[in-house]
Every structure is written in C-alpha cells, then in structure tokens.
Subunit: 198 residues, 2 copies
C-alpha cells in the first residue's frame, strides 16, 4: 500500500515522462510538469530537488526496468547462443519503447561527436550491457559452447560485440533502413558467435 507521498511522486514522474517523451528535456518546462500533475511548481520542489532530478529519476527508472526485462528474458534461454539472440531481440524491442532512455543514448552520441563528452548516462548503461553479454559468454564457456577466453578478452569481446551492434544501429539510421534493423543485428550476432564457438 503506497503512501500518499509515493502516489503523488509517481504522478509527477509519469506526467513528466510523457512530456519529456513528447517535447524532450529542454522544451518541457517545470510549469508544464506541474500542470500535468495538477499541482503548483512549489509542490514539485517539495518532492524533487530540481527539474534535472525529475529527469534523472525517470531515466534511472527506465534503465532499471530495461535491464530487468533484459536479464529476465536472457535467463530463460537454455543455451548461450540463444541467450545472445534473445538479448539482441529483447534489447531492440524494448529499448525503443523506453523513449526517454533511448533518446538520452542518442543525445550522448551526438554530444560526443560534437567533441563534448559528458556521458551522464551512457557509460553506466553500456557497462551494464557489456556485463550481461560477458556473463553469457561465461555461461557459454561453462556449457562448452564457446572457446575458453581470458577474463580480459571477455571484457574486450563484450565491448566489441556491443559496439558492433551500436554501429549497425547507427548505420541503419543513417541509411534509413529501420525495417531491416533486427534481422541485421541478428545476422551480425550470428557471425560473431561463429567467431567464438568451439
């Protein structure tokens, strides 16, 4: 049974989530968020330190949800190979639904390419992705599906696997071929799996 505080807090967050999805962080005002929650601005500041904190909580929540879903679906697959494919499919399907998390990832790429590296969210996000992939590798080694690699190589491989998926995504965006995205992500993952299997 949630307290009154928590109910209102979540009302503010879900309203803000919708606004950020629609208008982005910069175009959504604190006044907008207050109105959406049916409260005054002061009330927002009672519950949150700043607009930035509201956004941060939303992103952290989406990230938490994303990785819970990802981890759950991966854990259900019986083989490491299947886990990797499930990882790709689930990641692709679910990340797009979490619009604010997705947008933040893209924004940080753009910032980095502009020579402005802040990485508020992406570093930790990518680390979590790579950790899941690494644990799948380790599982695959235990089951005998994959060759044995050093821990250092596993880290490197996880990074490279994910970077290659990121690259494919970006290139598909560039070439406006979003409908082929999932099949190509899977194709690439199959190639990479072929590179590490026994």
């Amino acid at each position: 049974m949630k307290s009154k505080d928590e109910i209102l807090r979540e009302r503010i967050l879900s309203g803000a989530d919708r606004l950020f999805q629609k208008y982005g962080l910069s175009k959504t005002t604190v006044e907008d968020i207050a109105r959406e929650a049916g409260k005054g601005k002061s009330t927002l500041y009672y519950y949150f330190k700043s607009k930035e904190e509201i956004f941060d909580v939303i992103i952290q929540n989406e990230k938490k949800l994303f990785f819970e879903i990802l981890q759950e679906s991966v854990s259900k697959a019986p083989t490491a190979k299947e886990k990797l494919h499930v990882f790709i499919i689930t990641r692709f399907t679910r990340l797009k639904e979490l619009t604010n998390l997705y947008n933040v990832m893209i924004d940080e790429v753009k910032e980095a390419l502009d020579g402005c590296v802040t990485l508020r969210y992406r570093k930790q996000y990518e680390q979590k992705e790579a950790n899941i992939v690494k644990s799948i590798f380790q599982y695959g080694i235990v089951t005998g599906e994959f060759r044995v690699f050093s821990d250092e190589d596993l880290d490197l491989m996880a990074f490279c696997f994910m970077s290659s998926q990121h690259g494919l995504e970006i290139d598909m965006i560039i070439h406006n071929k979003l409908d082929e995205m999932l099949s190509r992500l899977n194709f690439l993952m199959s190639l990479l799996i072929d590179g590490i299997k026994k």
Copy 2:
C-alpha cells in the same frame, strides 16, 4: 606537363583544402580562399562554379586518393585474412590524414542522428568500402580460407563488417579511448574472421 590552368586550379584547391581543414566549410569564406590563392574572387568563379564545388572537388579527390591507397595496400597482402587486417590498419591510418574527408563522414553521422538525412558523400563512400571488403571475402573463398556464402550474404556481411567497425570507432570516440582504437578494430576483425573461416 600541366597547363597553366591546371596549375592555378590546383593552387586554389590546395589552398582551400588547408582552409577547410582548419576552419571547416562554413567558416571558410570565398574571400579567404581567393586570398590564399593570391587571386581575386572572380578568378575563382572562372575556374569553379561555386564554393560548394570547390569543396566537392576536394572531397572527391581525397576519396579517390584514399581508395587508391587502400586498394593498393590490400592487393599486396597474400592471404584474405591479412588483406582484411591490412584494410583495417590502412583505413585507420590514412583516413585520419584526409581531414576533410574524415570530417565529412562524421558530419553526416551527426546530421543523420539529428533526423536530417542528406548523405552527400557517405553512401557512396561506404559502398566503396563494402565493395573492397566483399572482394576480399570472394578472394578468401577462392583461396579456401573462408566458407562459401551466397552473393547476397556477402553483401550483407560486408555491410555488417564495416558497420561494426564504424560502431567501434564511434564508441571509442565516445569513451575517449582513441589510443586503443587500432588494436580494438583489429581484435573485432579477428573475431569476425573467425566467424567466416573454414
């Protein structure tokens, strides 16, 4: 023996190349380029239709040079596997030297991520890259190094190989690890090669 026209034309181009490298296309004025060539603006318009054409010629020249160098170094390697590694090393080494070409590639990624897909240069550039990689695959099949793939799969593989390299580059830029770039590019290529070899 070059004609006077060609000498002056190349003087304009090399001056403009330096200016574009330093200031970029938008911040380099036609007046700048004229001054660098020691001529008036009108003279520039005698030889080139517009500032944009000067830039285009420079990019096309850099691209031509880049692919000649790439093709030459690849053709010297004896095995398909070595060709792929030479491709990666040469590509990495030489593209960075061709500043204007490199900058145009990055700019087009940024534009695409902004939802504005123009692709003045990148599409053809990527097609050429993929063609070289595909021909290396075909060579590797002939020499017996790689498994046999359909032509369609070869196209897809070439695209995916290059996209994965692009992704690694972008992620290294994002994480500010440019010093590790080449080793990781080679590491990823090795994984991918392992995925296609007999």
